[in-house]
Symmetry: C2
Subunit: 466 residues, 2 copies
């Protein structure tokens, strides 16, 4: 079994396990108590805070341990917005933030605030000038991830932080994906992270609030963790989180080079090994361990099952793997293909052989899924049929009620019947079609004319160019 | 070292430790994922939920794992209030709830809601008729702990649940202190608990919402734990929590008898071993492992330090041990002495010898603290001085700026100079005096006349009766 989903959760680092086990005996008592067991717990907590702060590059009293990265984001955003309530209620987030940030933004809007979502380019990257353009007199907070969790693209945090600082607006950086690789540089004001992403235990997040940042914790008051994270401290987990963060940082520079080379192999070789693949995300400014690609004419859930069956655990942003039946908001914001999406995120220590085995297994796996779906086998469009002017714009594909990737497969099947210059209308009510039909056109060199309302779902109009 | 503060946190149960260690290898992955590691994690999570639900006496889909008992209370109260927003915004809590519940009530009031705090009798117990009297047409929620965390008094949950059910109002039971001893009987609607109170790991709370209870989770939306507990699941801890709950339940009946006998020894013997002690809490309807008493003329923090020095870890509701300088709200609501307060809460398995050692060490420890403070050594008031009518009501003790127990000590020192029928005024600005001077009068058979405003602090007027 090769586990290639470190961006969801990394297996427990050996240092985390040791620290956790060692502190189960010393760290269970209430650190607020004055007796021996309480003092021991307090010492462990203080030492963990110092170690984590040192790794993050902040002061210990700026760092709070939360119960997850999600909680850190929720609490950090709510506290920062409330702390600057007098300035205004405008929030800026990128369109590709983690759901914890986007859901905070939705709640903020539902409570009467406003939010601007900064678009990204096709690699998933925001531009600092977009943030500059979005800043307003009533902007209370801006948020930007250090790197994207689905495609690995690194964001220009330093530049955006500078832009925000110039406007007197605090920037919250969600560093969940990158903190294990090193400190987040730049003049940010708040930072959040999640221990289980770097090999720490579940149940620990970090919330850093730089001195001088206005912050008003929300929710019922509580004395623990400077009032920023209510509830009894989970000291064994916190100790394990801090110890493992130091351990992964010590190896980060070396391991980054190694994993970057392995993900580069996937980036470069998959398009040659598997036809009709789009590799997504920034090819250079990216996390070492993440590579993401999408395969035309493939059902993401089936592909995941097949890869699991042959021994690879990966995740997917395809709608067909999600209970919500909508494709990943990240792929959507990037405007790239979502069907047959595969995210490979290698945990530190992944052996080279595992990656080679993956590259060896992928082509047949994808081909088998495609075959089962009756997908077109060739990337070459059939030669254009003789033009019959009567049918130039008459072709309609009815894919109503069919889930991704069927609408795209049906489109690919009929495109050969469309005369060059003619159009085909694909009727579909699957949310993914809106993303994947234009992406297919781009990959195939056909023209995506646009979307039109239909009795049911939408009609996606495609013109054959070649 | 004898650890007698199980009501704050119990040492990790061996079953919890085993389960935690065993599931570190299987429970780190994302249970929402479809691959092997995710499915294993899901199996563990589902099994833990079933085990915990069975122990609580609810359906698995009614039970959510939160990150602490505090979070369970915060989320449970907020969700239940929001779920019944249309009914009204009136909340009922007892005056002796845990701070997580009381702080939720304060936030509710600050947000425009109303709250009624149900008083308790001198044993710390509410009466069902008080709840009946407090229910209104706009009552959205009532809260009652199953047993008190500071004095061990059990609350009439079944009767209060019946009263609430009759009015169509959901009752939330904070079962943090009692769940390790068994299910909470009665027709309650919501229940919260905390794993580290029963020997489970830190980082796990329970929130049970019975089917049919209106509930609207607050905060940013999140898919995990039925939307009631955001953030990545801490599965190893959850597994350990469920396993240890079953383990402690299996031993509960037997261990309850044993601990009850040990705490009964303390209840009965301490007043004979140490002069001027008030044992507080219900003598019969109480948790097996908790006994609480207060010692006149003793500084709680010093007493805790001295007990720690001789090997006993206990906690205290005295103001002098708290950073807020106010005595425990529980002792205040009960109207009992707060100075020199000691809570002994025995973890299951506490050896009889440890309790005997405690009883042997306590008298000298208290005596030493009293001596250092210059406290009166005898419980007998000096014979009344010859009456001089000029000084009958003229005596004033200035204890301004002095912390507990000094105001009471100064009062005790001068009472002998007060003619029978005469009064003495104690000037004090320490919050504890308001509680402890009346309590002293009750213990000493003197009359507490009342409190009068003074230039600084208050004047507490005491009449000598004997």
């Amino acid at each position: 079994m090769s586990y290639f989903d470190a961006a969801s959760a990394a297996p427990l680092h050996p240092v985390a396990r040791q620290a956790l086990q060692a502190s189960l005996d010393e760290g269970w008592a209430d650190p607020a108590r004055l007796y021996r067991e309480g003092r021991r717990a307090r010492l462990l907590l203080d030492a963990a805070r110092e170690a984590a702060a040192d790794a993050v590059g902040c002061r210990p009293d700026e760092l709070t341990f939360t119960t997850s990265g999600t909680r850190a984001a929720h609490s950090g955003i709510a506290g920062a917005l409330a702390g600057r309530r007098r300035v205004g209620a405008h929030l800026i987030v990128s369109a590709v933030e983690h759901s914890s940030v986007l859901h905070s933004a939705e709640l903020h809007e539902a409570s009467g605030g406003t939010a601007t979502r900064i678009p990204v380019d096709r690699t998933g990257r925001v531009s600092p000038s977009s943030y500059a353009g979005a800043l307003r007199a009533d902007t209370a907070l801006a948020c930007l991830q250090s790197a994207n969790h689905e495609v690995g693209t690194e964001q220009p945090v330093e530049e955006v932080a500078q832009v925000c600082r110039g406007a007197g607006v605090p920037l919250l950086v969600d560093a969940a994906q990158s903190l294990g690789w090193g400190r987040v540089e730049g003049d940010w004001s708040l930072l959040t992270a999640s221990a289980h992403k770097w090999g720490g235990p579940s149940g620990v997040g970090l919330l850093v609030v730089r001195k001088g940042t206005r912050f008003a914790p929300q929710g019922p008051s509580d004395e623990r963790e400077s009032g920023r994270a209510p509830g009894f401290e989970n000291i064994p987990a916190v100790v394990a989180a801090a110890a493992s963060l130091r351990a992964v940082h010590a190896q980060a520079a070396q391991e980054a080079v190694r994993l970057r080379e392995l993900t580069e192999r996937i980036r470069v070789r998959v398009p040659g090994l598997v036809p009709d693949v789009e590799v997504v995300g920034d090819p250079v400014r990216r996390l070492p361990g993440i590579v993401t690609f999408s395969c035309l004419y493939v059902d993401g859930e089936t592909l995941l099952h097949e890869l699991d069956r042959v021994g690879f655990s990966v995740s997917s942003g395809s709608s067909c793997t999600s209970s919500t039946l909508t494709p990943s908001h990240v792929l959507k914001a990037m405007g790239v293909l979502s069907e047959g999406n595969v995210r490979v995120s290698l945990p530190p220590g992944t052996p080279e052989e595992d990656v080679e085995r993956f590259l060896a297994a992928l082509p047949d796996t994808v081909a088998a899924v495609r075959e089962r779906l009756g997908a077109p086998t060739s990337a070459v469009t059939e030669p254009a049929a003789p033009v019959d002017s009567l049918v130039v714009d008459a072709l309609v594909v009815d894919a109503l009620g069919r889930r991704c990737p069927i609408p795209v497969i049906e489109l690919a099947k009929v495109i050969g019947d469309v005369p060059v210059g003619g159009t085909v209308r694909v009727l579909a009510d699957d949310e993914a079609a809106r993303l994947d039909i234009p992406a297919w056109c781009e990959m195939r060199g056909q023209e995506y004319v646009g979307e039109e309302p239909a009795d049911h779902g939408s009609a996606y109009v495609v013109r054959r160019l070649s």
